[in-house]
Symmetry: C2
């Protein structure tokens, strides 16, 4: 099996803690050959965790011209995505890029334009939640609860003390709504995986905490083209742990996701199903590998889906209409 030589741009949390472990486990598909970061010490530190011989660069353009890599993995502050994807395309590379696709919809559309201008190139937006097998489990079960009345997705994400809250680009975010888009694209990607294409969103947003210079709390209603609607509430502000909840209320029953357990509540009985475990990040890199080798674009890595996710959040934050 041909191994892809992958060059990682970025040496932060996503690169080290999400992509690197997945790539290590997929060593029959990938070989990490280079890492670039403007903070070369940081890149070297990251390289020291890898197999020997990984070359580091303080500039991704140098890495792209090194002859050491076949594909590029981008995991950097999101407002640099557009330029970095452009550089990769200009230098002939296929790209896997950590979500969100961009810092706002305007920039995301420029990314889409890059794809249109480079139809032979692959841009895979790595949205981990699209690989959540709970999506398929729920889709298989949803007919059992009859017509859907509404859904409810509630997330209390204790963020203040987290490593994510310590990174400068998240403290003073250039990306729309701060954590609301950084985390939010995951949540709507999950919902869209189940319900399809969103027709309309409505939201109120607020900033309660001081650990980021942007919003940290949102209640959003989402209406889908298939008529289903529901509520997505999220707060990154609370200094406490609380249960997260995903529930779909149907005319004849309720579906409830609790961790890896999917519960069907119907006629006063509870049926429990285990959602199979997969590592979302491994799935992304496997999917990207197949995409590159077969020269076919993956549905789950589709930049258009990533644009839709981001547009829902931006529309909620800024009170705009979805353009669809």
């Amino acid at each position: 099996m041909k191994k892809l030589r992958i060059g990682i741009i970025g040496s932060g949390i996503a690169a080290r803690e999400l992509h690197f472990p997945a790539l290590k486990r997929l060593e029959n598909l990938y070989q990490i050959t280079a890492i670039s970061s403007p903070h070369i010490d940081h890149a070297n530190e990251f390289a020291s965790l890898c197999e020997k011989g990984v070359k580091t660069f303080d500039d991704h353009l140098k890495m792209m011209k090194s002859g050491l890599i076949d594909v590029v993995d981008i995991a950097i502050p999101v407002n640099f995505n557009y330029q970095t994807i452009k550089d990769a395309f200009d230098n002939g590379f296929d790209v896997i890029c950590e979500k969100p696709i961009a810092e706002n919809v305007q920039s995301a559309k420029q990314v889409i334009e890059l794809c249109t201008k480079n139809p032979e190139k692959i841009l895979y937006i790595a949205e981990s939640q699209r690989h959540d097998p709970a999506i398929e489990s729920i889709k298989k079960m949803i007919s059992k609860i009859g017509k859907v009345a509404f859904f409810e997705y509630k997330l209390i994400l204790q963020t203040k003390g987290s490593k994510y809250a310590q990174t400068e680009w998240r403290k003073s975010p250039k990306h729309v709504g701060g954590f609301l888009s950084d985390g939010g694209v995951h949540h709507v990607a999950f919902l869209n995986g189940i319900f399809g294409h969103a027709e309309s969103v409505q939201a109120f947003v607020g900033q309660l905490s001081g650990f980021t210079d942007s919003y940290d709390t949102m209640v959003m209603n989402i209406k889908y083209e298939n008529g289903v609607f529901g509520n997505y509430s999220v707060s990154y502000a609370l200094d406490l742990q609380a249960e997260n909840e995903f529930i779909i209320y149907g005319m004849e029953g309720i579906l409830k996701l609790e961790g890896s357990k999917l519960k069907l509540i119907k006629e006063n009985k509870i049926y429990e199903f285990e959602v199979p475990y997969v590592n979302f990040f491994e799935e992304e890199f496997k999917d990207f590998y197949n995409s590159v080798l077969t020269r076919s674009k993956s549905k789950l890595g589709d930049p258009f889906l990533a644009l839709e996710d981001l547009e829902m959040i931006e529309s909620g934050v800024e009170g705009k209409r979805l353009m669809n």
Copy 2:
């Protein structure tokens, strides 16, 4: 203590099952002396449950001119409220009237106009939820959870087989949004009791069930003038029982109302408080009694508050802005 001779207009569910038991227990304040209903058999049947000597009428105007009553209690299909309140005022009576104030905002404003034109008369809108002692319990406790991030109020109200779903005027409702306003004014009255004056609402509505010719499901976001926002989701469509939920998420804790138990969750501890029991309907009639005797308008029976409740629902259903 002076007893008020009360004439009840209407002999349906609200009159018999909500007002009548309360009036019976308040026999030191009220004497039911007359009942009117265009369905005289229905009125007679109702009268047979009361003390002997209650006179029945097939026309509320005849009752008003009978000399038998001091005050009027209105509990009829809501689209007749305006005309009936007008008739009562024209005939010199103070009025207690079951919520909602009217079938839509336009009609509610005409009711308010009647009040303005008859400043010496009392119109008490009987909104039971405004008398819920949980409101005061929550207001006393809310500072303990720090700044409020958002609230969530979720109600699954199994309605299809209920007595309410059997009444013709609810099956083919002339009131805005059908059950969404009939039940909904209660729910927002409760929320407004806690959070104050609503600044803005956003909602999606749907009709899933066939037992009423109107909407039966809504997800609504509400933003209050004090900056607090949250979600209110309700469905009357589901053919199943599910737990209702009212939760307020604060920066430092959570308040949760479960039946008559108010739970404060803070620093991994749960503190439980019992909300004192009161009969909301007795409270309404006591309050109306004092209002009539002291010639002062009650805050909790204020038609303006009832207009606000209704306007929130109508704005949600019709996608309009709140006028405030």
